[in-house]
Amino acid sequence: MTPARTTVISLIGLAVLVVAPLVLLAILPQNQAQFWTSNILGRGLVFGLIALSLTFLATYGGFISLAQMTVAGVAGYTVAVLTQGAVPTIVGGLPYALTIPAGLFASVLAGLLIGAISVKTRDIYLLMITLALAMGVFRFVETNIAWFNGYEGIRNVVGPDIFGLSFRSTYVFYYSVVASCAVLYFGILYLVRSPFGLVLQGIRDNPRRVSALGYNVGQHRIAAFGVAGFIAGCGGVLATIYNIGISPGSIGLGASVNILIISVIGGLGHPIGAFVGSIIFTVFDTFAATIYDRERFNTLIGLVFLIIVLVSPDGVVGLKGRLMALLKPKQAKEAKSP
C-alpha cells in the first residue's frame, strides 16, 4: 500500500472515530451511547495505544516485547504516586500538569532501560527477557507497600480538567483519547520515513548491513524502545485515569499478554492493527461473559484469537490481502476459460 493510500484510509478511520459518538447518540439511548463511547471505543483506543507501542516495535524493528504494559504501568504509577488527591497519598501534592509529563518521562526512561538491557537479544530471547523484566516489576510493585501501596494499588486518580471541563465527562475523555491516538499514529507514520525509522526497518531486515553502512545498531534499537516507551506511557496515563487509579493487576502477566493478543488480532503488519485489534478485543472482553458463560469468557476470547491466527496470521488487517490472493487465481482462471 502506498503512503498516500495509507494516509487516506487512516484519515477515513479517524473521521469514523470522530463521528461515532454522534451516531451512537442518534441510534441508542443516551446511557447506552455513553457506555459504547467510553467503555468500548474509549477503553479500546486506550489499550490500542499501548498495543501501538508494541506494533511500532514489531512492524518496523522486528522486536516483540512483552514489557509494553509494564512501561505503561510505570507512567501510570508515576502519575498516581505524585498526583494531588490520589489515595493513599504517597508523595502527592503535584498537579496533573506536572505529573503527566513526569509519567511520560518515566515511561521513556523505562523504555530506554528495557531497550538497553535487551539490546543483544532477538526473537524468543527478546520475548523472554522482556517477560522476565515485566514480571520482576510486577512482583516488586505488588509487594512494595511504602511506594505503591502493594496489592491494593493507588486510587482516586480522576484526571485533570481540560479548559474547565472534567476529564470524567465521557466525551472529554473520549475525544482526548482520539486526539492522543491520532497524534501518535500519524507521528509513527511520519517517523518511519525519517532516517531513524528507515534504519529501524533496516535493522529488522538486516542488522549486519545496517552496521556495515555506518549506523550504530544498538543505539537505534534503544531509541526505538524509548519511542515505544513514550507511546505506551501515553496509553498508561490514560488507562490510569480511565480506571481512576492503578493496581499491580493492571501490569500483571494477563495484562501483558493481552497487549500481545491485541496486536496479533489486529495484525503486526501495520500500526492501524493495534486499534483494530484492541476494539475487537474490548468488545469480546466486555460481552463474552454475557453471550457465553461468565465463568468461561476467556475460552471465547481464546477461540476468537485462535480463529484469527489460523485464518489470517497477519491479523484482521492482513485479511484483505489474503482474500485478494485467494480471489486472484480464480479470476485469472475465469478470464482464461472461454
Binding site: 525519517s194 529488522r204 549486519r208 548491513r209 553502512l213 549506523y215
Partner: protein, 249 residues
Amino acid sequence: MSAVPALRLSHVCRQFGALRAVHDVTFDVMPGERRAVLGPNGAGKTTLFNTICGDFPPTGGSITLFGDDITTLKPHHRTRRGIGRTYQTSLLFNGLTVLDNLYLAVRGVRPNRFSFRAPKATDPDMIAARTMADRMRIAHMLATQVDQLSHGQRRQLEVGMALASGPKVLMLDEPAAGLSPGDRPELLKLLKDLPRDLTLVLIEHDMDVALPAADIVTVMKDGEVVVEATPDKIESDPVVQAIYLGGGH
C-alpha cells in the same frame, strides 16, 4: 618516499575454536591500489574480509587504515573511517525501496545520521542516492521494493550501496557471483571506471573479472597467503597452478 598504506594487515589471525580460518596474514594495500584476493573455497578470503571490516574481530595481529589502528573498532566505526563493502550474498533491506536502501547507504557516514526528521526530495543525501542509482543503471526502479528485484539488479544495488558512502577503501566480495556472462563485462567496466584514488580489494572466483581489474593479486590457501604477484605472473605461478589444478598435476 614511503606513503602510508591505505590498509595494513600485520600477522592477522582469526580462529573459531580450534579452526584457524585466517592465519598470520600480512600485506599492505597502497592508496589507489587494486588488489584481488583469490583462492579456493574455504581458503579464508571472506573471513579475512569480515575480519578487516569488523564483523569478526581478529584474534591476533593488527589492522591499520591510513595509519590508524582499527583492530578493535566496531564495524560501524570502520565504515565511518572509510571502509565500504559488499557481501558474497547480497545483504539488502528487502522491505524498503531501492531509493531507501541507497539513501541509508549515503546517510550512514554523515555526522547527522541519527535524525527523526523525514527527508524532502531536495535533501542532498536523497539527490546523492538518486545519482548513485543512475550510475548503477537502476534509476528506473527507485520506488521498487528490493524483494522484487532480480539477482543481477540486487548485485548492482549491493555495489551501489557500498559506493554510496564514498569509501576510501572499497571491498567487494565476489561481485560477479550469480551474474550472467552478459552482465560480467559491464561489471568489469564499472570496476575499471572507479576513481583511481579509490583503493579496491576484491575477492573473485572469475579470473576474467579479477585479473583485468587488479594491479596485484594475493592468493590464499588454508587461511594463509601463499602467493603475491602481478596478474600477468599469477596464472603461470606453479603454486597457483597446483592450488587450482591439484598438487599432483
